[in-house]
């Protein structure tokens, strides 16, 4: 039997398992920086404590990739539990794991498969943790589907940077996917363009105006949104809508279908109802694999200096990927914005254009829609007064009256407004520019 077997020559010893990795770590290449790369040292990777945010489609891939890149001390945060629709791509989970915490199951699985790696899970929100917690990591790799969570960790990491202490600068490597598209980016907080600087590259979907839903629906999605926003409120106000409850989705579907029939609109289906009310983004294993591994490749290069990494100041920091029509990447340097509310100079307020006759309520809606703002629950103050405060119920009642006032009656042209939103540990400064 043995004569049919072939086996590559492998040195014995404790590093035998890392034969391949050590080839790269022990030899300089034509692009390695001789000042930064020390051939033969594996400690820089093994000792780097690294945090993974998200244990979903990207997170599963990231944990596997980091463990097989020689990282030994990995932490992972995720608040979600496993759903059956995760199983087509989140490969660390099995049907029997449905309902368990993702971070917990993912960590145990990778620990079992890759001997010698320690993975510490935390099943909860990133907002539960403070600066001291984030300070312990060498870098952070993010695989999230929520823009809000990304903005939160970004603002937190920017806020942690202390010029006196080089260890306070935590590189942030962020991946995101949607269908066949995705991106990988590296951020050196305060030094290079941050998530907030790049916010307008990820514009939110335009919302359908309420009056269209209420009076002139034309698309099946309009009928579903009507059922979701208006009919539920009318008929089942006392029941909290749970988009994971099949009975609730079925009710919305039946309502939407009836409304569609009334207006002769074809095309309402159960799957579409689910897609609209849960805001489902198509997701597949292959795109997750590409984006997660691109992120981990940067994490490995950052730790080992085995080759130059994305995000070094003055060089490309962003790789955009599209795979539906052939394969296309665009790797470029996204420039830091001087008026970035998170990493820009403190004193700079961003000009924001407001229609002259807009009310404060219109302005609040505008803050949610504008790609560079995307603030869903803003509280707005000027140097003089509080225009609208949502963070406390009492203050909300007191300031609610302002909502119907015109902006030009509340602020002067060019006057600075400070906007806060509970979702973000930072303030956003704007100055009003009235358009005619």
């Amino acid at each position: 039997m043995t004569e049919t077997l072939t086996q590559s020559a492998v040195p014995a010893g404790p590093r035998a398992r890392w034969t391949y990795l050590d080839k790269i770590l022990s030899r300089p290449g034509p692009f390695t920086d001789p000042d930064a790369f020390v051939p033969g040292t594996i400690e820089s990777v093994e000792r780097a404590k690294i945090l993974v945010i998200g244990a979903g489609g990207l997170g599963c891939e990231i944990l596997k990739n980091l463990a097989l890149s020689g990282f030994k001390d990995i932490h992972v945060i995720d608040m979600d539990t496993i759903d059956v629709s995760n199983l087509n791509r989140q490969f660390l989970f099995r049907a029997a794991d449905v309902g368990s915490y993702k971070a917990e199951v993912a960590a145990r699985f990778v620990e079992k498969r890759v001997k010698g790696v320690k993975i510490t899970p935390y099943c909860g929100k990133i907002q539960d943790k403070d600066e001291e917690y984030y300070m312990q990591f060498a870098m952070i790799v993010c695989g999230l589907d929520s823009i809000e969570a990304r903005r939160w960790i970004n603002a937190t990491l920017v806020g942690m940077v202390d010029g006196e202490n080089p260890d306070s600068l935590k590189p942030l490597i962020d991946g995101g996917t949607e269908g066949f598209k995705g991106q990988a980016r590296v951020i050196l907080p305060t030094m290079t363009s941050c998530i907030e600087c790049q916010l307008d590259m990820h514009a939110p979907r335009a919302a359908v105006p309420l009056c269209t839903l209420a009076t002139i629906p034309r698309q099946p999605q309009h009928c579903i949104e009507w059922a979701h926003i208006i009919a539920w409120e009318e008929h089942r106000k006392d029941i909290t809508l749970d988009t994971d409850d099949p009975e609730h989705i079925t009710w919305l579907y039946t309502q939407a279908l009836a409304r569609a029939q009334e207006f002769n609109i074809p095309g309402v289906t159960y799957a579409m109802t689910q897609g609209v009310v849960k805001n489902i983004i198509p997701a597949i294993a292959s795109t997750n694999a590409i984006v997660a591994a691109a992120c981990c490749n940067e994490a490995f290069k950052l730790s080992s200096n085995a080759n130059p990494f994305l995000g070094y100041p003055g060089t490309p920091n962003y790789m955009m990927y599209t795979g539906d029509e052939s394969v296309y990447t665009y790797t470029f340097e996204h420039q830091k914005k001087d008026d970035c509310p998170v990493c820009g100079a403190d004193t700079v307020a961003r000009p924001i254009e407001i229609p002259a006759n807009a009310t404060l309520r219109d302005f609040v809606d505008l803050l949610a829609e504008r790609p560079e703002a995307q603030l869903k629950k803003p509280s707005i103050r000027t140097g003089e007064k509080s225009l609208y405060i949502q963070s406390l119920a009492d203050l909300e009642r007191q300031t609610r009256g302002n909502l119907d006032k015109e902006m030009s009656d509340l602020v002067e042209e060019g006057e600075e407004m400070v906007v806060t939103d509970k979702a973000f540990p930072t303030q956003f400064k704007y100055k009003a520019v009235f358009s005619k």
């Binding site: 072939t6 790269i24 087509n88 002139i216 629906p217 597949i284 694999a289």
Partner: protein, 565 residues
């Protein structure tokens, strides 16, 4: 109990599990995946192949088979996620196959541990597979054999390298690989035919714009923009000898007219429907001329001559070609974007487009049936397929698959009709063609260094510390030689500056490849396994547009490039 509403058909267990992907390729794409059987041929670390399979097992590929006669070593455990300590000394194909199968109970996995030389000498060895994936290093005689099989059996063949920070794949598709369901971006599919309206559409516009000036504010603000544009086009034609706006200047002038027709004396200070009309002018006022790629399909020899055994794609292409010859346009696709309008007006407009689309479809279908009878075809093409084709006619794609170069043990790489295009790319500053040349040189090294004591395991450059320098020199020399032969075959000569820049690139790329000593980095194999699996899904489902035919990933600079070899 009589008042219970009719039961709602909720999703099946399978629809739940595959929900996020069915939203991309639909139930028919899923069926195609389930009918596929993929063969993976491995001899080196092979992680790039295993990662590819992982991304195919998860979405539910029907069958896969791994051919690999290697036994599990310690080194495998540091790079392959689908092996465990207890598998040391066992067959890699067997254990990897079993761990992959755990990912999805719906998938059948098989393995072959017989060495490739004896296994491949069986004439029926490749018969069961609908797609083959081979990873480097592989002896050129075996890769050639796979290539010949892909040619005769008309099945896709992928060849993949993942070496250190670099990777490459090439795909050999059948000579005619059509894609009907190309999923163009929603912005690019609107075809409103505003410059070639048919009577019912004109009638609709006339009706909706009757007494436009005298309309109440609410009515005026709800006239669909399609009607607004058609109305103003009629006015324009009256003042321009019956001509529609011809050029950019005309169109901007026309746009100003439409813009001025909006009412601003309302509480909103403008009208959304007019904003939509203004925004649509430059996009929609173009003659509905099909692209040259589509017209080329009508002129393809397979379309011009329909035989008894012609694939249905060509029969439909011929029928739509006839339609185009007769009317100078493609069948109306029939979809209408959302726009500010009252429900009933919008639905009515939708029906105007839909019934025109049905009429065009009926005419194409008649031609299809005529062609079928004439060619004496035994099976009838489904009406649904003709309908899909009509809907997507402006965006159908045809990939002319071709074999990729296999580096021969002796003699030169042959480029044929691609020589000129490839040689020209050698001097583009940021192109990755030189890296592709370096991969070919790597293959040449493997092809000429396969004799070692361990029963034909291929020797890869940089495997042992002591040979790094000499191997780098060799690979660089081979790369320079291949590049020189390419320029010769293309009858192109590089000036000194280009030559020395190319020489430096080849030296750097060869150096980085040899540095790896045949090692796969898990990250690079995972990126590449992601890309290759995505391409395999496109090819199997015949949806989206596949890479034609070579893709390179540079993990040092974090970018990809696609070109045709």
């Amino acid at each position: 109990m009589a008042d219970l509403p009719p039961p709602v058909q909720g999703p099946t267990a399978k629809e739940k599990k595959y929900d996020r992907q069915l939203r991309l390729w639909g139930a028919h794409g899923q069926i195609a995946l389930e009918n596929a059987h993929i063969l993976l041929v491995i001899s080196g670390p092979g992680v790039v192949g295993v990662e590819t399979l992982k991304n195919l097992v998860l979405p539910g590929i029907g069958n896969f088979t791994i051919q690999d006669s290697t036994v599990v070593s310690e080194a495998d455990l540091g790079v392959n996620f689908f092996l465990e300590e207890e598998h040391l000394g066992g067959y890699r194909a067997e254990h990897t196959c079993n761990l992959l199968k755990e990912l999805n109970p719906d998938v059948n996995g098989n393995f072959i541990t017989e060495p490739i030389d004896t296994w491949l000498s069986n004439p029926d060895a490749l018969a069961p597979y609908t797609l083959i994936l081979a990873t480097a290093p592989i002896k050129s005689e075996y890769l050639s054999k796979l290539s010949v099989h892909a040619n005769t059996a008309l099945i896709p063949l992928f060849y993949v390298h993942s070496i250190g920070f670099y990777s490459h794949f090439s795909v050999h598709l059948p000579p005619a690989f059509p894609v009907v369901d190309s999923h163009p971006s929603p912005e690019s599919i609107t075809d409103l035919r505003l410059l070639k309206p048919w009577p019912e559409l004109i009638e609709y516009a006339t009706q909706k714009t009757m007494n436009l000036e005298g309309m109440s504010a609410d009515d005026h603000g709800h006239v669909p923009f399609v009607a607004i544009l058609l109305y103003h086009l009629e006015q324009w034609k009256k003042e321009h000898n019956g001509q529609v706006p011809q050029n950019y200047k005309d169109k901007t002038a026309f746009r100003d007219i439409v813009s001025k027709a909006a009412r601003a004396n309302n509480p909103e200070g403008g009208e959304e429907n007019f904003d939509e009309a203004v925004a649509a002018v430059l996009k929609s006022l173009n003659p509905p001329e099909p692209s040259s790629t589509v017209k080329d399909i009508f002129k393809a020899p397979e379309s011009l001559l329909i035989r008894q055994d012609s694939p249905s794609f060509w029969v439909i292409a011929n029928a739509i070609g006839l339609f185009y010859t007769k009317y100078g346009v493609l069948p109306v696709p029939g979809s209408v974007p959302d726009m500010k309008a009252r429900s009933a007006d919008y639905i009515e407009l939708q029906n105007v487009y839909k019934s025109k689309a049905r009429k065009d479809l009926a005419e194409v279908l008649d031609s299809v049936r005529f062609l079928e009878r004439n060619a004496n075809r035994s099976t009838t093409i489904k009406e649904k397929d003709v309908e899909t084709f009509c809907k997507n006619a402006a965006h159908i794609k045809l990939v002319r698959g071709r074999p990729f170069p296999v580096v021969p043990t002796e003699g030169e790489v042959k480029w044929g009709d691609r020589a000129k295009a490839m040689a020209q790319k050698l001097t583009f500053p940021d192109d990755l063609v030189p890296l592709y040349i370096a991969f070919l040189a790597w293959d040449k090294f493997v092809a000429t260094h396969d004799q070692d004591a361990l029963l034909g395991a291929p020797k890869v450059p940089g495997a042992s510390e002591s040979d790094i320098e000499s191997d780098t020199e060799k690979v660089k020399g081979m790369a320079l030689h291949i590049a020189t032969q390419l320029t010769k075959e293309a009858s192109i000569s590089l000036d000194d500056e280009d030559s020395s820049a190319l020489g430096q690139q080849l030296e750097e790329f060869s150096g980085e490849l040899v540095r790896a000593g045949g090692a796969e980095l898990h990250n690079i194999s995972a990126v590449t396994g992601g890309t290759v699996s995505q391409e395999i899904i496109k090819v199997i489902t015949e949806q989206y547009v596949p890479v034609d035919n070579t893709c390179i990933f540079d993990g040092v600079k974090s970018k990809m490039a696609v070109f045709r070899v």
